[in-house]
Structure formats: C-alpha cells, structure tokens
C-alpha cells in the first residue's frame, strides 16, 4: 500500500558523500535519463540499492500489516457480498506483500531478513496501519481513502527506474483499483443510508483525516531532500505534491455525499492548491517510533503468526537446496 521515499537525515548526508566509479555511474545515470529501467543484474550505486531495499521493504511490510485491521472485520461483514469483497481484498494485500518482498529480494536482502527486521522493529511500515478499525465504516474509509492515497503514491512510483519494483507496482495498481471501487461503493451505501450509517461514516472520516494527511510524509519544507533520489528516479514526486493530488481527487467525492472533514481550513485555493490546517507532526513521529494506538498489537499478531508457523516452515525446509537471489 505504501512506499516511503522519506530519507533520514543520516541517509541524506551519506547519499551526498558516497563515491562511486565515475564511469559506471555515468552509464547508469544516462540509462535512467533515457527512460530505461535498471534490472537486478545491472551495476548500481550502493546508495541506490540501499534506498530501494528500504523503500520496497517498507512497502511490503505495509501490505501485510495493512491487511490486519481489515482482516478482523471479515467475520463481521454486514452481508455476504461485502464479505466476499473483503476476503478478496485482504488476500490481495498479502499477495502484494509477496510481490514486493520478491522485488526487494532481487536487490540482495532475503525475505526472512526483512520479516525479522519488521518484528525486531528495525524496519518500518506505514503509520496509517497503526490506527484501529473500530466500526464497519472504518473498513469503508480504509478501502476508499487509504487505498486511494496508496494508489496516488503507487502510480507515481510505478514510473520509477527499478524494473522489478515497477512491474510489481503495475500489477498492484491494477488490483487496487478494485479495492478503491468497492471502498467507494461501501462509503456511498453508508452515506446514503440511515442516520446511524451516516453517523458512523462521519465518525470514521473524522478519525482518519489526520492519518491520511500524514500518509504522504512530512511537508517538503520539513523533510530531508536528495537530488540524487530524484535523478535516479527512486523518488518521483514530493510529499506535498502527492498529498495535493490526493486531496484534489478525493475530497470532492466525500463532500458530494454531504459528509465533512474535521478541518474548517480545508479548501482549494485559486491556484488549484489545497489548503488545510497543518496536522500534528509530533503525533506522526510518535506513531513512527512505536507510540501509536495499535503498534504493539500489529507486531504481536505478526510475531504470533511467525511463531505459530515456524514448525511448518522448518518441516518444509530442505537443507540441500541452495538459495539464490530471484531473477526478476
């Protein structure tokens, strides 16, 4: 659902100091400038590999952790049709995780190492999944707006330079367009339903508004920049640009249902730029560092799955098989 291109200060500094073979770097950069893709077997700068692993891995974790809040609602879906759609969506998310782990794996980090780093807290996933899905309306809002935000991000990233990531994203975007449509359908049913249905929808929108603004990362003026990531087509749009694109596409679709966002300053100005009250970025940091309402629960569920399934994996493991990095 999400690939963060936000750099830590430390990474940003190193990006600008690592020295690469100038001849190879030149060939690499001109290939990207020509619009060609980089494939796993190609030479690539150390930092390019490192940043891509970090980004694709976070994205993969976000997919599988993102399925957890929705998964809990499968048993309580309001009808059979909604239940079928939700099962399909949750299965897709796990499938997307698998596609992305494989894409990251082509860069040299194994899936097991990535899963270990998720459990030991070394690698992150999107903050948005550390909030609870309290009512059925949360499932509608997640399906429509969280997936909508993810699609904005993923369509942009699918134009990037790394072949395996782009191919995975194309497939993911195709499948997520179903998530979006069924989410919209669900939102519209609640919005045009009973007083109570409208009330739980409004409540869910009120709670998801800030996490959605946070989704695209800190404002450009606050985040560490790297010209190189742009040049290498790892990062393709700024956080503010993506956030604006999201608001432009989705705010009107909520307003037309006579549902509001909890922000009196939310409006589009004459230049086509959306204005909104700055959300609390300290909360964003607090949630990233483990302080969100569901961080502990999400990791606990993953740990449980990891441990409960260990005997199966070990029984299946063949000691004579030699692991090689996947091809594409």
């Amino acid at each position: 659902m999400y690939g963060s291109t936000n750099l830590s200060e430390e990474d940003a500094k190193r990006m600008n100091t690592t020295v690469e073979d100038p001849e190879k770097l030149e060939a690499f950069e001109s290939r990207i400038a020509r619009g060609e893709k980089i494939e796993p077997q190609d030479w690539m700068p150390v930092e390019y590999r490192k940043q891509l692993i970090r980004m694709i891995e976070q994205h993969a974790h976000s997919e599988i952790v993102g399925a957890l809040p929705e998964g809990t609602w499968i048993t309580r879906a309001p009808n059979f049709r909604r239940k079928l759609a939700l099962i399909a969506k949750v299965q897709d998310e796990i499938g997307h995780g698998q596609l992305l782990y494989s894409a990251a794996e082509t860069l040299g980090k194994t899936r097991e190492e990535m899963l270990n780093d998720l459990l030991n807290g070394k690698s992150k996933y999107s903050n948005v999944f550390n909030y609870p899905a309290k009512t059925w309306a949360d499932i509608a809002v997640i399906g429509f707006l969280v997936d909508g935000a993810a699609i904005v991000n993923q369509v942009i990233n699918s134009k990037g330079s790394y072949g395996p990531y782009c191919r995975a994203l194309e497939r993911i975007c195709y499948e997520e367009s179903f998530h979006l449509k069924q989410g919209h359908d669900n939102v519209v049913y609640l919005a045009t339903g009973t007083k109570h249905q409208r009330a739980i929808l409004q409540d869910a929108i009120n709670r998801w508004y800030v996490p959605l603004l946070h989704f695209f990362g800190p404002p450009d003026k606050m985040s560490a920049h790297s010209e190189k990531l742009m040049k290498w087509k790892v990062k393709l749009a700024s956080n503010d640009d993506m956030r604006n694109q999201f608001l432009d596409q989705y705010v009107p679709k909520i307003w037309e249902l006579d549902i509001t966002f909890p922000d009196p300053n939310l409006k589009k100005n004459n230049d086509g730029i959306w204005e909104f009250s700055d959300p609390d970025w300290n909360e964003f940091k607090r949630v990233i560092n483990g302080g969100g309402p569901c961080n502990a629960e999400r990791i606990a569920v993953r740990k449980f799955a990891e441990e409960a399934g260990r005997w199966v994996r070990q029984a299946l493991m063949s000691p004579t098989e030699k692991y090689v990095v996947p091809l594409a």
């Binding site: 494939e39 030479w43 499938g95 194994t110 191919r167 302080g291 309402p293 299946l316 098989e321 091809l327």
Partner: protein, 132 residues
C-alpha cells in the same frame, strides 16, 4: 495526547480474534535462519495457444508448493489456462554486460521482408520491354 496514551493502555483489548482468543506470548527471540525457502520463477499462460510469459517469483519448499503459491499470487483474476514454475537456480541467463551482443541485430535489415523491394525494378523492366 492523553487520548493516545489511553489507547495504548487498551491496545490488547482488541477486536482481532487472533489476539482475543489465543493466549499470546510473544517471545523476544525472532527466528534467525540462514536457510531460506528457495524461489521459483513463475510463468503464466492466459489462453490456449498464447505464449507462456514470466510474471514473477514465489517462495516455496518444492515445485508442487510453488504451483499452489503461484496460483494464489498470479491466478486470482482474469483468465489463466496454466502456470509454470522453474527453480530460480535452474534458469540460465546472459549477463547484463553481454547486452551489447544484440546491439546490431536491428541493423540486419536483410533479415526483414521489408528489405526486399522489387516493384521498381519490375516496372523499369516492363518499360524497357515495351515495343517502341
């Protein structure tokens, strides 16, 4: 702020049945292993008579499991007639440094049907043959 801390306190009072129904004892030890499930390259055939094309990778312990995984990951939507899986280590490829050996192939126009244009010659010939 206060609301958040409250939330954390209630973290394990959850809607997740896996947490609710099972006694969960997250151990501090995360599995550390150097023996990974190997990967299989997956090929997908959409229709009878179409090419079978590479679509991605799955992790599996053996080819049968790889097929099951491939069906789940690559056969969820649209049409599928068949899936193939091949152990990644069994695939042989050229190195990316060898890409230049194909560089001149598009120049070999003598291999293209469009290279052979005889109409002009036939017309000139027919002109010459006409009685004066």
């Amino acid at each position: 702020m206060g609301e958040f801390e409250n939330e954390i306190q209630n973290t394990m009072n959850t809607l997740d049945p896996r947490i609710k129904r099972l006694s969960l004892e997250p151990s501090a030890v995360v599995e550390k292993t150097n023996s990974h499930l190997i990967t299989y390259e997956v090929f997908h055939q959409e229709k009878r008579g179409k090419h079978v094309t590479h679509v991605g990778v799955v992790h599996a312990s053996n080819p049968e499991m790889a097929l099951v995984m491939a069906k789940e990951v690559f056969g969820r939507r649209g049409k599928t007639t068949n899936l193939w899986v091949v152990k990644t280590s069994d695939v042989y490829t050229f190195g990316s440094d060898d890409e230049d050996m194909f560089e001149t192939t598009p120049e070999k126009t003598f291999r293209d049907p469009a290279y052979y244009k005889v109409r002009d010659r036939i017309e000139k010939f027919q002109q010459r043959q006409k009685p004066l």
